[in-house]
């Protein structure tokens, strides 16, 4: 990722060779055909260690085209190290245009957030997923979790939510909150806050999920039903804040608490930096 890196002509477009991209696209087609189903793929060595979004990067590399406009976010921000590195990587190996504007992007790779600006038809989001198996903390065996999916036996997931309520008085799971995709497959929405879960439901954009270490990808095609699990007497709710964003005054975006000085003063600001910027400009 530094200037000592090999220059562009030594790589195929988007780094991966065409066979690998075809393999990934075939897996993606299957994923789109079976919403929420985890499709195995042959994960390739990427010039980044696992945990830095290798799954998402491979998906992006397999679908990005010359005319795409790429946005990369990490925790909602376009300017964090991880986001900057991935954006630079694709700029170098594809020369496509990049942007921080959600509206201007055709392809958005993300870690931890879905933008506040509503997605539109034709856009594709690629999520970086550390653990694709929503049941993993409860069932360590991959053989067993595959059986549970095959037979749609998801009582176990409610065991976790039950346990949350028994211990904390409410469902304390606040990110990577399990969802049922198309009324069939239990899925991890990746570590997005549960605040973003409603955006998955009937999204007009195509949502793709890639886990590099676990070598699994899955998809939520446009206009798919996505339901967050809950109990009748403990319905699904999203985070709400007392205050508005200190920078743009938004009342309905996801806020991060930041410490502003050594004395520990805090303020709440939008985690989505592009959205916050837009809001500030529209007020100015």
């Amino acid at each position: 990722m530094t200037e000592t890196c090999h220059s562009q002509w030594q790589y195929n477009f988007a780094f991966l060779d065409e066979n690998t991209k075809r393999m990934l696209r075939r897996a993606l087609l299957k994923a789109v055909a079976i919403p929420g189903y985890q499709v195995p793929f042959g994960s390739r060595e990427m010039p980044l260690p696992y945990g830095w979004g290798t799954g998402g990067i491979q998906l992006t590399a397999s679908i990005i085209g010359q005319d795409d406009v790429l946005k990369v976010i990490d925790q909602g921000a376009d300017d964090t190290t991880n986001a900057v590195n991935i954006r630079r990587f694709f700029a170098r190996v594809t020369s496509v245009a990049t942007t921080s504007s959600t509206a201007a992007a055709s392809l958005i790779q993300s870690r931890h957030r879905i933008p506040e600006t509503p997605l539109r038809p034709g856009q594709i989001m690629v999520f970086q997923v550390p653990e694709p198996e929503a049941l993993r903390t409860l069932e360590a065996s991959e053989v067993e979790t595959r059986k549970l999916h095959a037979h749609q036996e998801y009582g176990l997931m409610h065991v976790k939510l039950y346990e949350d309520i028994a211990r904390f008085g409410h469902i304390a799971t606040s990110y990577d909150y399990p969802v049922m995709v198309n009324q069939r497959y239990l899925s991890s929405p990746s570590p997005i806050p549960k605040f973003d879960n409603p955006k998955l439901h009937m999204s007009p954009a195509l949502l793709l999920f890639g886990a590099g270490r676990e070598k699994r990808l899955y998809a939520i095609p446009p206009h798919t039903r996505v339901e967050s699990l809950a109990f009748e007497d403990h319905p699904f709710t999203v985070q709400r804040w007392e205050q508005a964003c200190a920078l743009c005054g938004s009342h309905d975006s996801y806020l991060d608490e930041i410490i502003t000085d050594d004395a520990g003063a805090r303020m709440f600001v939008c985690s989505d930096t592009d959205y916050c910027q837009q809001q500030q400009e529209s007020k100015a």
Binding site: G155, V159, F231
Partner: protein, 257 residues
């Protein structure tokens, strides 16, 4: 008389080394407890697992009548259907509680799991049902949020019973459920089990190598030796007047003990 819950004929499971279980025939009726006794290695667990579909049979037939009265051939049942029956119509209690419980979640979650698997989605109701079942197995409802790791061996086995019976199965398989318990704890456990069987009308197939357990619980008994049933019949008859030399040996050894 009503139709049997389970009808087994010519059942065999062959591990390929001459071991397993062979030529098994019996019927089991509602509310009945059947004990399978025999020495270590005689094929008791193999038979139980084959009946429950956890091992695939090599010959014979196992017909199960569900609550609605439909009959299922378990030896050829599709996996999905077998799992559905296992969730809704059967229970399986293991010798080691850690194999039959989730040790890392609360007692309440353990008891509620099968209900949630069947689609119950009301936390308050699940919790109340779980509390009632804890009481039925003589565990205080105060322990609802404790993990099984904080329970004694006897409590863990009783929790396993509650976890299995909460969905009111028709048939419960038990493999040496008292195996790991002290004698005094065992007696209380068996007493409780007898009461639950009486109250709920479930049918039980229990593997044990303890003829005392058999005498206390079972109407009928199968005696196994080297993978075969050498004697079958009413428990009292077998214990009081064993016909097969091996049964005679078993009975005399318990009388001496």
């Amino acid at each position: 008389m009503s139709q049997p819950v389970l009808s087994v004929s010519g059942l065999a499971k062959d591990y390929g080394n001459g071991q397993g279980c062979f030529d098994i025939d019996f019927e089991l009726y509602e509310g009945e407890v059947l004990c399978i006794v025999g020495e270590s290695g005689s094929g008791k667990s193999t038979l139980l697992s084959t009946l429950a579909g956890r091992l695939s049979a090599d010959a014979g037939s196992v017909r199960f009548r569900d609550r609605a009265g439909s009959s299922h051939e378990l030896t050829t049942l599709a996996e999905a259907e077998r799992r559905r029956l296992a969730r809704s119509e059967w229970g399986f209690v293991t010798q080691h509680a850690r194999d039959g419980l989730r040790m890392n979640v609360s007692a309440g979650a353990n008891v509620s799991e099968r209900l949630m698997a069947l689609g119950q989605r009301h936390y308050g109701q699940l919790r109340e049902t779980a509390a009632q079942w804890l009481e039925k197995v003589e565990i205080s409802r105060e322990r609802l949020d404790d993990r099984p790791t904080a329970f004694s061996g006897g409590m863990q086995q009783r929790l396993q019973i509650a976890r299995n019976l909460v969905t009111q199965p028709r048939l419960v398989f038990m493999d040496e459920p008292t195996g790991g318990l002290d004698v005094s704890v065992q007696a209380r456990f068996l007493d409780l089990l007898r009461r639950l069987v009486h109250d709920t009308g479930i049918a039980v197939i229990m593997v044990t190598h303890d003829l005392g357990v058999t005498r206390l619980l079972a109407q009928r008994t199968l005696v196994m030796q080297q993978g075969r049933v050498v004697e079958a019949g009413l428990t009292d008859q077998i214990l009081d007047d064993p016909q097969h030399p091996y049964s005679q040996l078993l009975v005399s050894s318990i009388l001496q003990a």
